[in-house]
Subunit: 348 residues, 2 copies
DNA sequence: CTGAAAGCGCTTACAG
DNA sequence: CTGAAAGCGCTTACAG
């Protein structure tokens, strides 16, 4: 099944070939391809025809070398200790999808790299001119990479990140209003008549987004004169396995609860599993609400009520902000408002 | 929240700066960075020190322009009519993860693009020197892009695809032994005492992988003197919604069945939903088996028995084969053996 | 082992 | 509106 007969070398078509064929100078070819307005219409037509006939494409490297712009953005997706490729958070993959689309829309290419937080941080994507800027995606220990962000800034690297928006954040961040999302979840559970709400997910300031979700939920309870019980909170990173394990821990404590607010959909789905296994019914015995609005939430069993983040807007905003930075136009951090999708996991 | 104070332009460090600092010629710097053996150890040390001190990175475009190699591969993920980014098949995302890793291992970067089958096919990734070769990923109507593959080959473009391996396939394909996988699923359901197996997923030759899965299952039944009933097959592309809808159609036919073999995990999960909604118990009334081995199969409710494709090997093989093509070394199509993960959706 | 020099294929002032 | 020319930052024969 070898394919030797197809290995013929391509002879590269250059702008000089086009120039000859269109009987103009190479400079003019370049002007036409750059869409310069200072070209005679007829000349332009001839050049474009030659380009089509020879299937000419501008050499990206020659062009970038000359202009000092890569026309490419790099996406660095890092996750804590997730050795298994297949467990990449689907929420980030949704954003990845919309980022590729936004890049295409702006005529940029997208380089992707999935890294561990522990890896080298490849700031050299920009140093080596491979990319004009970086998009950073990933949950993880905030403190662990805070210093790396400062370092990137100091180097003058262009980057934006998805994450929790804080005042003292180095650089530009696009993120969800996690507090508002948490409040929605809490309010909804209250509306469903629940009073003892467990929270699954890290709720320390080291994980700012989860922490804000927790606090938002608590705020809703406090408005109703209630509060979250620390005994009903269990740490968990955003995986199904962690959600499953955390729910087990919660159950083992034998404290009564009638609802679970999970810091992510993955955690929620893992938790529903553990609850079901323990003979509890969702939502009759325990109502469950997730966070993210991933596609799988719609098809879990029962379908999961969840706080939806608009990934498609997220991707567009990330790319927009980064391109502004690259072009030296003012850009700023932004917060997206989430919405609540109510499904059977909370309302029978 | 604007960040004007950080917009200072970086002054690019070039190999000439390194040369000055290390008191050697620019050519020698280049030799050191290329790992040439013809450099004095002491000279090499001085250069490397200067490189470190100035945080120098080779300019990718200058290097690629000179060598005529991009050092980059491009991944084109296309799916039929999937307007919503978020519904990208998780199976492909798993492969994407392992492809990024394989690329990194070989010192290559990865450019990604998610396209509709209907879009232009961007063979120009290679024409414009942006990438040395293409990896094609996606289910879809076989006939619809068969001709595009032929076109790519004719242009001398380097590419590999993930898909069903057929004899008369243009180019190189890495894929799963879908027939063997289908047979495993069928045999397992027989072992579970099931006799009337429904198949959800397109089973025509236009969708070769699904078709082979169907035939593999049928082969298992025939070995047992049984056969698949055409009345128990319903077409469906690989989405949860399609699986849900297909199961509804199946139920509406009111023909008895005691098992469902779904052509993909997504279809299976959607189908389990519809079955549960109709008051059927999985696996007591209907055993369900999926295909792919996606992470969500482990956490569906009940956990899904599924034919597992080794995505991590898949990514490695795709990248290996493509790099061979790029380097003009013989490469060939390959088939991966799937395995069966038995879970509660088929065995009570 | 090292340096001087050519050249990869563009873009963009500069002249006209 | 168009062309001649310089130069982006490398790599790699060619000489020594």
């Amino acid at each position: 099944m070898t394919e030797p007969r197809h290995s013929r070398k391509k002879t590269r078509v250059t702008s000089l070939d086009i120039a000859h064929r269109a009987a103009v100078s190479q400079a003019t070819v370049s002007r036409v391809l750059a869409g310069s307005p200072l070209v005679n219409a007829e000349t332009k037509r001839r050049v474009e025809q030659a380009v089509r006939e020879l299937n000419y494409k501008v050499d990206r490297h020659a062009s970038s070398l000359r202009t000092q712009r890569a026309g490419t953005l790099a996406l660095l997706l890092f996750e804590d200790p997730t050795p298994d490729d297949s467990h990449i958070n689907p929420f980030f993959l949704s954003i990845l999808g919309s980022i590729t689309r936004a890049c295409a829309k702006h005529g940029h290419d997208l380089l992707v790299s999935f890294q561990q937080l522990s890896d080298d941080w490849h700031a050299d994507y920009e140093d080596s001119m491979k990319a004009d800027g970086l998009i950073l995606l990933g949950y993880g220990d905030y403190l662990a990479y805070q210093s790396k962000l400062v370092h990137l800034l100091a180097q003058g690297t262009h980057f934006v990140r998805w994450g929790h928006v804080l005042e003292d954040q180095p650089g530009i961040t696009i993120g969800c209003d996690n507090h508002a999302g948490g409040r929605m979840a809490g309010q909804h559970l209250l509306d469903c008549g629940r009073r003892q709400i467990a929270f699954l997910g890290d709720a320390s300031t080291r994980f700012p987004e989860f922490h804000a979700r927790y606090q938002g939920c608590e705020a809703a309870l406090q408005d109703a004169g209630l509060s979250m019980s620390p005994g009903l909170q269990v740490d968990a990173p955003s995986t199904e396995q962690a959600g499953y394990d955390a729910a087990k821990v919660l159950l083992a404590r034998k404290r009564p609860f009638d609802a679970v607010f999970a810091a992510s959909d993955l955690i929620a789905i893992g938790a529903m599993h553990a609850l079901t296994e323990a003979g509890l019914r969702v939502p009759e015995d325990v109502a469950v609400v997730g966070f993210d609005g991933t596609p799988m939430a719609r098809f879990s069993n029962p379908p999961l009520t969840t706080v939806v983040q608009d990934t498609s807007k997220a991707g567009a905003l990330l790319v927009d902000a980064l391109l502004r930075l690259v072009r030296d136009t003012p850009a700023q951090s932004q917060t997206l408002q989430p919405t609540l999708a109510i499904r059977a996991s909370s309302v029978g």
